[in-house]
């Protein structure tokens, strides 16, 4: 047994450790440990009281056994007993055991706290030190509750020794971090700052010889790093003198870093560069001194080829942030070749990852083609762990900096070719959105996917893109006999059987689109749809599509087919979902800041916002299972009522709960329908139905919203939110209670909204509903039909009064008028009902022309009452109406006119 024990030897412990080390097998070791555990247990349980030394020894053995990876379920009480020993070594072991083994929420914590309290009050500096260490090591909330008030007193007490103060300060910092509400920093900060200059301070003892703090010829590197870090908590100093001094200091650090090393030891270089990197962080944080930023960049540039891997790694990382500063972006770009070569030659994947990050950060319009090409070529050999991220980055850059969208399409298809498995849905959705939104690239896209599909083995993602693009734009290349409709169809169909169900569903939609685009292949496609493998497919979605599409192609006339299967309308513009995905992958802070910085720079340096409309845009949602045609569950017979849900209602893109989905298609129509009525179904899709019931009285109203789960599966995290713009919020007060976040399958929950009209308003609140259904996140937004006319009180009046008031309101600003074409049959009774539904009184025999309708009422708001007169003049011959509103307030006349003119 080696006699390496020093200080207090615990012979029994050393013997035990030796035994364990001599065990030849795992089994022998476990046997020896179990024997020891049994021994210790019997000693602890035994009748004979153990002396402090034995207790200490056994507790130490338990600790050792724990470190070997075994669970320890006893001995805690003995360890706690050691805390109250007056012997330093026993106390010390007790504290050690607790700091390593006692969980912060252990029941023992009260006993421990008691012992700690005694030691803190003992005025024995070593005991106080142990107690402070224990508080900091456990750092639990209970500890903070018990001692957050005590420690600051120790910190500022005049008779506390410096070493104890040091511990007290760090201990307080620790408690402040875990429980900021409990550690009363506010009260003590000024005293602590006065005492120590700051709470992070490491060197408290001014009398200490500073020589001790020089580390491998670098003066106080820890302190320097701390201070530079502290400065990063503040904005750049405003006082020019202070600012000048700080710049001077930073220049000195940059200069020192350039001096020849005073030692060849890596510790010297590390300590020196630790300070340098922290200084550069501060320079980047200030982002206000172009000279310093450019210098920092050039010094980091030297590290890019340093033989120390650590420095190369850190330089790449640090340059990423420099790239986002407008002052140093260009300087960073000069290193592009070095970074690319790092991507190719570095042997450490984490360094390569940093190189990819830096290329992404330094990318702009001038170098995008080169950088994306390098990413693509790296992708062929890249580590699996980072492929998806590279795909996302390349896709974002290709989109953002595309001048020529054919390049963008090529890039995405290449991404799919090289790393198809790592191309997430967002990426291929996005290429489709862009192709649909940009007609200059549609023909090229069709041609390119057609060619790519000819490869004998192509990735399923390519089939999806190909299916979608050809379904929309296959006609653009059909003139070429090499890509005739039949060839296109056969090419796609040759992939069909190798694809998964969602892709097959998508292809079926492509086929029905072909029926419309190319009547000559209708027969072929109908044969395919009619085959047993389609019509009787075990998958219900495929079967349904086959049946419905076959029927549609048979019964519908050419006109109807053309309408139903019309080209997809452009997607609304939105933030790129790929970017959102990257943010999710990388954590919110990094990418967002970088992106925002880049966007700012784009605007500043390039003299304007990004020219390409699609560059910051993104759109909604072709999901693989979603319906390509937007048919949804609506019957394919156009004579029926128009489908209220014109398209895909569920937003599959915004997976982040904070993002609010754009208004569901059809929402406007539904909204308009509620202007003249108060009850009904506001929204419906395959999953969810939203019904409304509301009543209004003067300026107050109450609305019940009913959410129905149409599925048999629970909705989780079900969160409806009412969203009002700032303007609207000032004029319309809405109060509601949260609903139960779980909605069982088939169940309905209701939510009441109390409404008050404070002043007249023009917008409508948006109801956003987010929930989880199965594995997917659902996000739906609809306009909530709370409109100004709901606060109408009808007023009856005679003809004479009406026209007298009408004349009084003759100021042109009090009148709003609209002439519009009838959208519905011009039925007198229906019109009357609508005017009454609108809320005003319908005044009979007032207008000299009996064909005209006039109405009157008062809009009630919390603060005022606004008299309103309206007159609707139909012209049956021209199928037109003229609507005139006169009120005392311009905004009210306009809004009511807008609302009512949508009704006829």
């Amino acid at each position: 047994m080696p006699a390496v024990s020093k200080g207090d030897g615990m012979r029994g412990l050393a013997v035990f450790i030796s035994d364990i080390r001599n065990c030849k097998s795992k089994e022998a070791e476990i046997k020896r440990i179990n024997k020891e555990l049994a021994n210790i247990r019997s000693k602890f349980k035994g009748d004979k009281a153990l002396d402090g030394y034995s207790k200490k020894k056994y507790v130490c053995k338990l600790l050792f056994i724990f470190l070997l990876g075994h669970d320890i379920d006893f001995g805690h009480m003995e360890a706690v007993n050691l805390l109250s020993s007056n012997r330093y070594t026993e106390k010390q072991i007790g504290y050690l055991f607790i700091s390593v083994l006692v969980n912060s929420n252990s029941e023992l914590i009260r006993l421990i706290n008691n012992a700690v309290k005694n030691d803190l009050a003992s005025r024995n500096p070593t005991f106080m030190g142990l107690a402070l260490h224990c508080i900091a090591n456990v750092g639990s909330r209970e500890m903070a509750e018990a001692f957050a008030g005590e420690i600051p007193k120790i910190l500022v007490a005049g008779d506390t020794m410096d070493s104890v103060k040091q511990s007290a300060a760090l201990c307080l910092l620790r408690l402040y971090r875990t429980s900021p509400d409990l550690a009363p920093m506010g009260d003590w900060t000024s005293r602590a700052v006065h005492l120590l200059n700051d709470q992070h301070l490491i060197v408290t003892s001014a009398s200490t010889d500073l020589q001790d703090y020089t580390y491998y010829f670098v003066p106080a590197p820890w302190l320097s790093v701390k201070l530079l870090r502290l400065l990063q908590c503040y904005p750049p100093p405003e006082d020019p003198a202070v600012r000048g001094r700080l710049t001077e200091c930073l220049e000195t650090i940059l200069n020192k870093a350039q001096e020849p090393p005073k030692s060849k030891k890596v510790q010297h270089s590390n300590a020196k560069n630790a300070v340098l990197f922290e200084a550069i962080s501060l320079i980047i944080h200030h982002d206000s001194e172009p000279n310093l930023l450019v210098r920092a960049c050039s010094q980091l540039g030297q590290f890019l080829q340093h033989r120390e891997t650590n420095l190369r790694y850190l330089a790449l990382e640090s340059m990423c942030t420099l790239a986002s500063s407008e002052f140093s972006h260009e300087a960073v770009k000069t290193h592009i070749e070095t970074v690319i070569s790092a991507l190719k030659t570095e042997r450490d994947v984490s360094v390569r990852q940093r190189a990819v990050d830096l290329l992404y950060a330094m990318c702009d319009r001038s170098n995008a083609q080169q950088i994306v090409a390098e990413m693509l070529s790296y992708l062929e050999t890249a580590d699996y762990s980072i492929r998806e991220e590279i795909v996302l980055k390349a896709a974002i850059l290709a989109e953002k900096y595309a001048v020529d969208y054919t390049w963008y399409v090529d890039t995405i298809l290449n991404l799919i070719r090289v790393a198809g498995d790592y191309v997430s849905e967002e990426v291929w959705y996005r290429v489709i959105q862009i192709v649909i939104n940009r007609d200059d690239v549609q023909g090229y896209a069709a041609k390119t996917v057609f060619e790519a599909l000819q490869a004998p083995a192509c990735h399923e993602n390519l089939v999806k893109v190909g299916g979608y693009v050809l379904g929309e734009f296959g006609n653009l290349i059909a003139g070429d006999p090499r890509s005739s409709p039949l060839i296109q169809f056969n090419l796609l169909h040759s992939k069909f059987h190798l694809c998964s169900v969602p892709t097959r569903a998508l292809l079926l939609s492509t086929y029905i689109k072909f029926v419309n685009l190319f009547p000559e292949v209708k027969g072929t496609i109908q044969d395919v749809l009619r085959s047993d493998s389609q019509l009787r497919n075990a998958d219900v979605e495929l079967q349904q599509r086959a049946v419905e599409y076959l029927r549609l192609s048979t019964v519908a006339s050419t006109d109807i087919l053309a309408t139903v299967l019309e080209e997809m309308p452009p997607f609304p513009e939105r933030e790129s979902s790929i970017l959102a995905k990257l943010k999710r992958k990388k954590g919110p802070s990094t990418v967002t800041e970088l992106e925002e910085a880049k966007r700012d720079r784009g605007a500043d340096a390039n003299g304007g916002p990004e020219p390409a409309p699609a560059s910051t845009s993104a759109a909604s949602t072709p999901s693989p299972s979603a319906d390509l045609l937007g048919l949804g569950a609506a019957p394919p017979v156009p004579a029926g009522p128009p489908p209220s849900s014109g398209g895909l209602l569920v937003d599959v893109f915004s997976d982040s709960p904070s993002a609010v989905a754009p208004l569901a298609p059809g929402s406007e129509d539904n909204f308009a329908r509620f202007v003249c009525k108060n009850n009904g179904v506001l929204f419906e899709n395959q999953l969810l139905q939203i019904g409304l019931k509301s009543e209004f009285r003067q300026s107050l109203g109450r609305m019940f919203i009913f959410y129905g789960n149409k599925t048999s599966t629970q909705f989780l995290n079900f969160t409806p939110t009412l969203i009002c713009s700032d303007d609207l919020q000032a004029n319309l007060s809405l109060q509601t209670k949260p609903v139960d976040p779980t909605v069982d399958g088939g169940a309905q929950v209701q939510q009441a909204v109390n409404i008050e009209c404070v002043a007249d308003f023009a917008e409508a609140p948006v109801l956003n509903i987010q929930f989880r259904y199965g594995g997917t996140f659902q996000n739906v937004s609809v306009k909530l039909p709370i409109t100004l006319n709901k606060f109408f009180q009808p007023t009856e009046m005679a003809s004479q009064d009406f026209f007298q008031r009408w004349k009084q309101l003759s100021n042109p600003r009090q009148e709003a008028q609209s002439v519009f074409r009838a959208k519905h049959p011009m039925d007198t009774e229906v019109t009357k009902a609508k005017i009454i539904g609108f809320g005003s009184a319908l005044l009979e025999e007032v207008d000299p022309n009996p064909a005209n309708f006039v109405g009157a009422g008062i809009i009630h708001t919390r603060t005022s009452q606004i008299g309103c007169l309206l007159r609707l003049e139909p012209n049956l011959q021209a199928q037109m109406y003229r609507l005139t509103l006169r009120t005392s307030r311009e905004t009210v006349s306009q809004r009511l006119c807008e609302l009512l003119s949508e009704q006829f």
């Binding site: 070594t89 511990s167 760090l170 630790a274 450490d348």
Partner: protein, 149 residues
């Protein structure tokens, strides 16, 4: 410098661990296992830093022992590397040319030295002289007591 935890191990055997965030034993074990695998899989000459969950791992190998710290995103990697080195120096000075056996047989001492040097994950005292002085004083405190018993 707010390290979340520090560990020393060889060949997957843990010699010492110190946590500065409250976690359950199960979580600690899981993290340790995951980390040992990751770090041991790395080749010499690779860089000493890696991103791991939302933390950064800084590790260094001394003979057969790996010393490993987890730090937060804003923390300085190089200075952490030197924290590890300073700790090794302290062990070396105290034991006189430290070897793995010293740490195994005197693991409690290794803990005490670490506690003198770091507190709650923050560097408490960077002067080698001061740390060792504190440890020696503590040793003096205990020796006469041992003789008594």
């Amino acid at each position: 410098m707010n390290s979340s935890f520090t560990e020393i191990y060889r060949q997957g055997k843990l010699r010492l661990q110190k946590w500065y965030v409250p976690l359950s034993d199960k979580e600690k074990k899981k993290i340790t296992r995951e980390l040992v695998q990751t770090v041991l899989a790395r080749k010499p000459k690779m860089c000493s830093f890696l991103e791991w969950r939302d933390l950064k791992i800084v590790y260094k190998r001394y003979a057969s022992l790996y010393f490993c710290c987890a730090i937060e995103d804003q923390d300085n990697e190089l200075i952490t590397l030197e924290i590890i080195h300073r700790y090794v120096e302290l062990l070396d000075k105290y034991f006189g040319s430290v070897c793995e056996l010293d740490i195994i047989f005197n693991f409690e001492k290794a803990y005490f030295i670490l506690d003198e040097f770091l507190l709650g994950g923050e560097v408490q005292e960077t002067s080698k002289k001061n740390v060792l002085k504190a440890i020696e004083q503590a040793d003096l405190l205990q020796e006469p007591q041992e003789i008594e018993s």
